[in-house]
């Protein structure tokens, strides 16, 4: 091998090493973002269930509605405690069921208006709406982080050099968390 080839080879190796170290740092950041957004997700969904449970036991709603909401919120909380921040299918199903229960309870504007008429009702509605909104948003943010991470992990060089180490492939969290129309701000 002549000097030119050696130099070129050396430059190539340097470039590859630079690329790999940059990508490793990038991947590290993305994994961190996935972890923090997952922990936010856990916090916000527990908050949401607790908020619904608090409203159900506040005596502000009729007993039938209260019972439906309390049951769904309790199931979501139980699943949330069991599965940690994993969001396994059972947890996702319980959270979706809670969304549906809230949607049925506040499906017509009258329930919300009734709450707003009670003293301190406005704060109750605001807190509930805000916790539901925050949960939905944190899932969007989490899934966005997961998708960014997966895009890098699919790259050939990343797989070839095992830059992700032993970190498991993150997965998006799919469940129904739509904010009921009556609780939306616009």
């Amino acid at each position: 091998m002549d000097a030119l080839t050696l130099t070129l080879l050396f430059v190539l190796i340097v470039l590859v090493v630079l690329y790999l170290s940059q990508t490793a740092a990038r991947l590290d950041r993305l994994h961190h973002r996935v972890d923090t957004s997952r922990s936010a997700l856990q916090t916000q969904f527990l908050d949401r269930a607790n908020e619904v449970l608090a409203l159900a036991s506040s005596g502000r709603l009729d007993p039938a509605t209260a019972l439906v909401l309390a049951d769904a919120a309790d199931a979501a909380l139980a699943r949330g405690r069991d599965s940690g921040a994993a969001f396994d299918p059972a947890r996702c199903a319980a959270e979706s069921a809670l969304t549906r229960a809230v949607d049925v309870a506040f499906g017509d504007r009258a329930t919300v208006d009734d709450l707003l008429d009670q003293s301190g009702g406005e704060a109750t509605v605001t807190d509930l709406a805000s916790s539901i909104q925050k949960a939905a948003w944190s899932r969007r943010f989490h899934n966005d982080a997961v998708r960014s991470c997966l895009a890098v992990r699919r790259q050939r060089l990343v797989r070839l050099f095992r830059l992700a180490g032993s970190a498991p492939l993150p997965r998006t969290v799919e469940l129904d968390d739509e904010v009921p129309a009556a609780l939306r701000s616009r």
């Binding site: 940059q22 590290d28 950041r29 923090t36 805000s130 944190s138 969007r140 966005d144 701000s185 616009r186």
Partner: protein, 391 residues
């Protein structure tokens, strides 16, 4: 909460994003947050608000087919890092980060909870594709993305990848609710208000002037009150002589005069022909209680809740506009009704409501208690620039 906000565009010249950042900062401060805004400052004589930190003088460069004023280079990068270090923020909020501005520098230099707001709807720029790798590294750090409109969200999804939640532009309702009419208003004859650059066809003044003869047929005393900069003679060139006395120009108006002009008019007309991604002026009119007649652009239809809170006419159709205006001027009940529904609609977009939602996004990304710090990992250029600033 300590919030650091980056405004990408010159703080000393008027603009939509700058106004947004200003109102956001003021409202968050009113909610009890500690806010610092980093922004380029072109005019050194401009009296900076005490929450604004000078991000340096922007430089004019050709970018993406036109001339843009931007900040870049190691000096700007060092300023950004110092601001991040001294600010010790809970959240970093950058605006329009997909452009060569302080915003992308801030994303690049920081780690921790970063929120980004995307304002524009645009087609993919060549420059962006070229710098894709560097930009992407910065973009990937953003923990939460906000789009101010569905169009801006679509742009993000299509060209940059990733998703965003929708939090619209805000409007400060109070100044419009409290405004007094201009001297001599309201007149006994109807007044129709227009605001926007009068020599920019997209703002639609030619459409309104083309509709004027049709309106005068029913309302011979009608006045078109026009606010906005531009050549007045040129604007009237196509209008037959006998109708010109129906038009009154106010020229460039202050915020206060604008609010008063809304309060002086029976109707506000937004005849824009395109290029509007939101329609903040419509909300200002509704806040003032002045019914809106607007072209049926997607963004306008959205703000007017598909015609529930204002009247839509066929875009670029002067006949359709003339009919809409004369019908509404003749229907007092409908106008009163629109004043009420319009005002309620504007209230949904009040900065108090919008900033609460932004606050909720902050809460969503700060649950782990991490703070915003300088980030040096895997950043060659960052490392090189570091000694100038931090040693």
């Amino acid at each position: 909460m300590k919030v650091g906000i980056v405004c990408p565009y010159d703080w000393t010249s008027p603009g939509g994003v700058k106004a947004h950042v200003h109102d956001q900062a003021v409202t968050l401060q009113r909610f009890g947050h500690e806010v610092s805004v980093l922004a380029p400052v072109d005019d050194d004589d401009y009296p900076l608000e005490d929450f604004v930190v000078d991000g340096g003088q922007p430089v004019s460069v050709p970018y993406n087919g036109s001339v843009a004023k931007v900040n870049f280079g190691p000096v700007s990068a060092a300023r950004v890092r110092r601001w991040i270090k001294e600010g010790d923020f809970d959240v970093l909020h950058v605006h329009e980060p997909a452009s060569p501005t302080l915003s992308v520098l801030a994303c690049w230099a920081a780690r921790g909870p970063i929120v980004a707001t995307y304002h524009s709807s645009q087609t993919r720029s060549r420059a962006l594709s070229a710098a894709y790798y560097l930009m992407q590294t910065a973009m990937e750090k953003i923990s939460a993305r906000i789009a101010v409109s569905e169009a801006a969200r679509q742009t993000l999804v299509k060209f940059l990848g990733g998703d965003a939640v929708l939090i619209p532009n805000g409007v400060m309702c109070a100044p419009f609710e409290q405004a007094e009419p201009l001297p001599g208003y309201p007149r006994t004859d109807p007044t129709v208000f227009f605001i926007g650059r009068i020599d920019e066809p997209r703002k639609g003044l030619p459409i309104l002037l083309a509709a004027l003869p049709g309106i005068t047929a029913t309302y011979p005393g009608v006045q078109i009150l026009v606010a906005g900069p531009g050549d007045q003679g040129e604007a009237l060139a196509d209008l037959p002589e006998q109708f010109r006395s129906h038009v009154r120009f106010l020229g460039l108006v202050s915020d206060q005069e604008k609010a008063s002009a809304f309060a002086s008019a029976d109707l506000y007309v937004a005849p824009n022909t395109g290029g509007e991604s939101f329609g903040i002026v419509l909300l200002e009119s509704m806040a003032a209680g002045t019914p809106v007649v607007a072209s049926d652009l997607e963004a306008f239809a959205r703000v007017l809740d598909d015609g529930r809170c204002g009247v839509l006419f066929r875009s670029e159709d002067a006949g359709s506009l003339a009919t809409a205006v004369t019908t509404l001027l003749g229907d007092h009940t409908r106008r009163q009704q629109l004043t009420v529904t319009g005002h309620a609609r504007a209230r949904q977009f009040d900065w108090d409501v919008v900033a609460r939602e932004i606050e909720q996004v902050y809460e969503s990304v700060t649950t782990t208690g991490e703070r915003v710090e300088n980030d040096m990992r895997g950043q060659l250029v960052g490392r090189l620039a570091r000694p100038r600033d931090e040693v």
